[in-house]
Amino acid sequence: MSTNTATFKIDRNKDFKISLGVSIAALLIGAIGIFQMFVMHYHGALTSYVPWGLLVGAYIYMIWIEVGTILAFIILYYGMKMKSLEKLTPVVLIAAISALAAAMTLVGTKLGHPFRAWKVFLEPSFSSVMIWEIWTHILFIFLLLGMLYATIKNKHVLMKRLSFISVPIGIVFISLVGALFGVVAARPFWNVSVMPLMFFIASIVAGVALLILIHLLFSPTKGTQAYTKTAEKLTRTFIGAISIGIIAALGNAIIIAFPNVPAYDEALQLVLFGPYWWTTWIIHIGIGIIIPLALLFFFSQNLKAVGTAAVCYLIGFSMVPVNIIIPGLAYPMSGMEGIEEAFNHAKLSFEYTPALVEWLVVIFAVGLALFIFTLGYRYILQPYFERTLNQ
C-alpha cells in the first residue's frame, strides 16, 4: 500500500513544477493572441464566407473531452460496475472542468462581442439551437461542480444522483452541439440527421481515451493486478468505441458520397482530397485511427502501447471538428458560384488557413486547461487522496 500511496501521492514536485511551468509558458505565449483578439480586435483568417474555423473546432474538441470523459466514466463505473474506477472520480472531474475552462475561453474569443455574452442568459431566443446548447451546457457545468463537491465531501449518494442526472443532460448537450450544425439546412455537409449521434459517439470515444490515460497515469492502484485488469477492460471498451465510431463515420460518408450529387459531396471531396487532405489522412486516419488500432490489436497487453494508442487517438481526433466545420463552409453554396469574385476583399473569401493569432489562442486555452488541472490536482485532489488513504 505504501508503494501505491507513493505512486499517486503528488509529492512529485518535479512533475508538478514541469506541468506548472509548461502551462504558465503556454498561457504567456497564448496571452499575446488573447490580447490581439480582445484589445486589437484581430479575427485571424476568418472571413464572412468562412466565419467559423480553428477556434470553433477547438471548442468542439474540448466539449467532446469534457462531456465524453464524464459520460464514459459514469457509464463504466455505475453502468458496467467497474468499481476500480472509483478512486479516479475526482481526477476525471478535474480533467473535465479543465477542458470546460478551455472550451469557454475558445467560445468567448470567437464572439464578435464577447462582453455581450450575458445576453444569452438574460435575453435568450429559444428558437435557436445555440441557446438550448448553451443552457444545457450551463446545467452540465453545475452538475460537474456538484459532483466535484460531493466527491470531495464523500457524499456518495449525492454523487450517484448527480451522476445519473448528468448522463441524460450530457447526452442531450453533446447531441445539441451536433444539432447546432445539423440544423443548418443551407450547408449540405452539416445538414445530416446523424450529426447529433456522430457528436455523441465522438465524445464517448474521446472520453474513453482520456479515461485510459487518467487510469494509467493517476490510478492509486498502480502496480496491482486490479490496475492491470481495469486497464484491459478499458482497452477493450476503447477498441469497441473506436469501431463504433468508424462505422458511424463510414456510414455518414457513404450517405453523403453515394448519391453523387455534387452539391452534397463537394465538402467530402474537400475533406478527402482538398488542400488539407493530410489532416484527414495523416492526422485523423493515420495517427488517430490506424496507429491506435494497430497498437491495441498487437500490443494490448502492453500498457505503454495502450497509453500511446490513447494519446494518438486524442491527437488525431483534434482535427476532426475542424474537418467538419471548415469543409462545410469553404465553398460557395449551390447557385451562388461566383460570389467570391463579385466583390473582392480578403474577408470575402472562401480560402481559410488558421492564422497565428488563432493558434496562439488555442495555445492559451490548452495552457489554461493544463494550469487548472495541475493546480486542481495539487491543491484539491492531493489532500483528498491523502485523507481517503489515511482513512
Binding site: H41, H43, L46, T47, S48, Y49, P51, W52, K110, L111, G112, H113, P114, R116, A117, K119, V120, E123, P124, S125, S127, S128, V129, M130, I131, I134, L180, V183, V184, A185, A186, R187, G328, L329, P332, M333, S334, G335, M336, E337, G338, I339, E341, A342, F343, H345, A346, K347, L348
Partner: protein, 328 residues
C-alpha cells in the same frame, strides 16, 4: 541582253510611263517639274490639289469601312442574333424616369399605411441588368460600408462554352425571406422580420456569434471585422469617419462602435424608405433594372410585374420565400 531581259525592261518602262501619266493627271504637269517649280510658283495650287485628294479619300472612307464591316459581320450575324436583337426590349428613357417617379410615389403612398399593411418586394430584371455594379457601389456609399462588408454584390455568370457563350449578371441583395433561416438561429433575438417583411438587425444586441451567416443560403450576411479602407495609412479619412444612417442611427465605425463585431446585411435602405425615398440600388441602376414597391398595393408597378410569367426566386426549393424576384 537577251529577249527575256528586253521584254522585262519594256514592261518596266511602261510602268514608269503609267506612273508619270497618273501624276500628270493629278498635278497637270510633269511630276519632276512640279517638284522643282513648286516652291516658287504654285504652292496654293499644290495645297488645293492635295486637299482634293484627301477629300476624295475621306468621302470614300465610310463606304470602305461599311463594306469592310459588312464583310466581317456577315458571317457572324446569323438568324439567332437577328432574332435576339429583334426581341431585345427597347425602353423609352422618359418612360423609365417616370417609372422611378411612379415607384417613389407608390412608396410614399405605402408609407402612409400602417407598417403591417405594407409588403415590400424587390424585382430585378436580369434582361436589363448590365452588370455595371452601380448598385453595389451606391449601396457601399449610402451605408458607408467598410472594407470586407458588402450588401449587394453582382454575381457574374458565364453561360455556355466558346463560341456559344453568353453572360449574365445577378445582383444579390438580401432576399428578405418570409421564412428566413437566419432569424431563428440567432440566440439573442438580434435579427427579426419586420411586419413589412424587411429583416432587421440590431447591432447593439448582436453578440457576433456568426451563426446567422452560416444559416443564410444566399451568402447575404457579412461580418464587420472592423477593417477600414485607410488602415495602414497615416489617417482615417473623413468619408470613413462620417456616420451612416442605417436603421436611422448614426454608426461611425469608430473603435467600440457596436457595428464592429456585428453581422451586417442589406435592409432595403429602411432609413431612406422612412423618408419616402427608394433604396439606393433602385435609383442608381443605370439600366432601370431594379424595381421596388409595395406588393400589397395591387395597382403598384411591382404588383403588375409580379403577375408576369417570367419571374423566379433564388432557391425556391428551400421554401424560404424570398421577397426578391428576378425577371428573365
Amino acid at each position: 541582253m537577251n529577249e527575256h531581259d528586253k521584254s522585262k525592261k519594256a514592261a518596266s518602262d511602261l510602268s514608269v510611263v503609267a506612273e508619270e501619266n497618273q501624276l500628270k493627271e493629278i498635278f497637270g504637269q510633269d511630276s519632276e517639274t512640279s517638284a522643282e517649280k513648286l516652291p516658287e510658283n504654285n504652292r496654293k495650287g499644290f495645297l488645293k490639289k492635295a486637299a482634293t485628294i484627301l477629300g476624295m479619300a475621306s468621302m470614300s472612307l465610310p463606304t470602305l469601312v461599311k463594306e469592310g464591316l459588312a464583310a466581317v459581320t456577315e458571317d457572324r450575324t446569323d438568324e439567332y442574333d437577328a432574332q435576339f436583337i429583334e426581341d431585345m426590349p427597347v425602353f423609352d428613357i422618359d418612360e423609365e424616369e417616370n417609372m422611378i417617379i411612379r415607384m417613389q410615389k407608390e412608396l410614399q403612398t405605402a408609407m402612409e399605411k400602417p407598417i403591417e399593411e405594407r409588403s415590400w418586394v424587390m424585382i430585378i430584371d436580369l434582361r436589363k441588368c448590365t452588370g455595371c455594379g452601380a448598385c453595389t457601389v451606391s449601396c457601399v456609399a449610402e451605408n458607408h460600408l467598410p472594407a470586407g462588408v458588402v450588401y449587394r454584390p453582382v454575381i457574374e455568370e458565364e453561360i455556355g462554352t466558346y463560341p456559344n457563350v453568353s453572360q449574365q449578371s445577378l445582383p444579390r441583395p438580401c432576399m428578405q425571406c418570409e421564412e428566413p433561416p437566419c432569424v431563428p438561429v440567432c440566440p439573442v433575438n438580434a435579427t427579426w422580420v419586420r411586419p413589412d417583411g424587411i429583416i432587421d438587425m440590431d447591432y447593439d444586441q448582436c453578440i457576433g456569434c456568426k451563426y446567422c451567416i452560416t444559416a443564410c443560403p444566399y451568402h447575404a450576411r457579412t461580418f464587420d471585422f472592423g477593417i477600414n479602407y485607410t488602415d495602414g495609412t497615416p489617417a482615417k479619412q473623413p468619408y470613413e469617419k462620417a456616420a451612416n444612417y442605417e436603421y436611422n442611427k448614426g454608426y461611425t465605425h469608430d473603435d467600440g462602435d457596436p457595428v464592429i463585431g456585428s453581422v451586417r446585411k442589406c435592409h432595403f435602405c429602411t432609413h431612406k424608405l422612412e423618408e419616402g425615398m427608394l433604396p439606393s440600388c433602385v435609383t442608381t441602376c443605370i439600366g432601370y433594372a431594379t424595381y421596388f414597391g409595395d406588393a400589397n398595393n395591387q395597382d403598384s408597378l411591382v404588383s403588375e410585374l409580379l403577375g408576369q410569367r417570367n419571374q423566379f426566386r433564388l432557391k425556391e426549393e428551400l421554401g424560404t420565400k424570398p421577397r426578391v424576384y428576378y425577371l428573365t
